[in-house]
């Protein structure tokens, strides 16, 4: 079973968690100033890399907290987890070729 390191509870089984998509996506400060294309870009377009990817996860059947994780989409290995509002210590742009 895949184990995920919750920043609050420690290492716990994957079935207790839910994924919430890509992390660190800043909501535009003035949405009404955006045209439809830019708004659609914010809502739907994600980086979808092959390699390291910062994601939001929630420990739904545990402490109930959202946190961030850096996961390798190629190996499904969790590189690190960190609390919401923090930055990863791994550079997340070194995608695989």
């Amino acid at each position: 079973m895949l184990l995920i390191d919750c920043p609050f509870c420690g290492t716990r089984p994957e079935t207790e968690f839910r994924c919430g998509g890509e992390a660190h996506i800043a909501r535009p400060t003035d949405p009404s100033a955006l045209d439809d294309g830019a708004w659609a870009e914010h809502l739907f377009v994600r980086s979808n890399p092959r390699g390291l990817h910062a994601e939001r996860w929630i420990h739904a059947h545990g402490c109930g907290r959202w946190f961030n994780a850096v996961r390798d989409t190629y190996t499904d290995r969790f590189v690190e987890t960190y609390k919401a509002g923090e930055q990863p210590s791994h550079p997340i742009d070194d995608a695989r070729a």
Partner: protein, 183 residues
């Protein structure tokens, strides 16, 4: 005629009797008061188990306090102690902003005890329940089969208290009885 060895043993799906396995005994716990307390920045306080680390609990008689997350506690007490407990929360937290919800009717508890209790729980709970990983005083929300539960281990004895939602109670109880039989 079908070979008898190919006939699966048939268990009645309803009315599962309490297990007679002495190594893992399953019994519904008596009704009690449970309060869900949410409050931020109360870790420095010592009463009501507010100073516990995350996923730790304290228990004394029917009273228990389990810290399930950074700002969430599950408090339990005897059936007649609701006002006492609410008074203690008010005394401990004063004017601090908080939410206290009476979940006594939502929660049902089942206790499983005996040397094989942990392995019976592991039939549906993926946590490591060894003494090193889940020692006395551990408490956490987790899964049992398809149901969300709060698993409490008040003492070093192999006695676990499984708190689940009322609508999951027959499922959880049946699951534990079945698991205890084969543990």
């Amino acid at each position: 005629m079908l070979d008898r060895s190919l006939v699966a043993r048939r268990d009645r799906p309803l009315g599962a009797a309490p297990t007679s396995n002495d190594r893992a005994r399953v019994a519904p716990a008596p009704a009690g008061v449970r309060l869900s307390l949410r409050v931020r920045g109360a870790e420095g306080l010592s009463s009501l188990g507010l100073g516990l680390a995350i996923n730790r609990m304290s228990a004394e008689g029917e009273r228990f306090s389990a810290r399930l997350g950074p700002d969430e506690w599950l408090l339990g007490a005897g059936e007649a102690e609701l006002e006492t407990l609410e008074g203690e929360i008010a005394a401990a937290l004063g004017d601090r902003f908080r939410s206290v919800v009476d979940v006594s009717h939502r929660n049902v508890a089942v206790e499983i005890a005996g040397p094989d209790a942990a392995s019976a729980l592991n039939a549906g709970c993926p946590l490591d329940l060894s003494d090193a990983a889940f020692p006395a005083g551990s408490a956490t929300r987790t899964l049992l089969g398809k149901a969300e539960i709060v698993l409490l281990r008040p003492t070093a004895e192999p006695l676990y208290r499984v708190e689940c939602w009322r609508s999951f109670a027959t499922y959880v109880h049946g699951f534990l009885v079945e698991a205890a039989r084969t543990a």
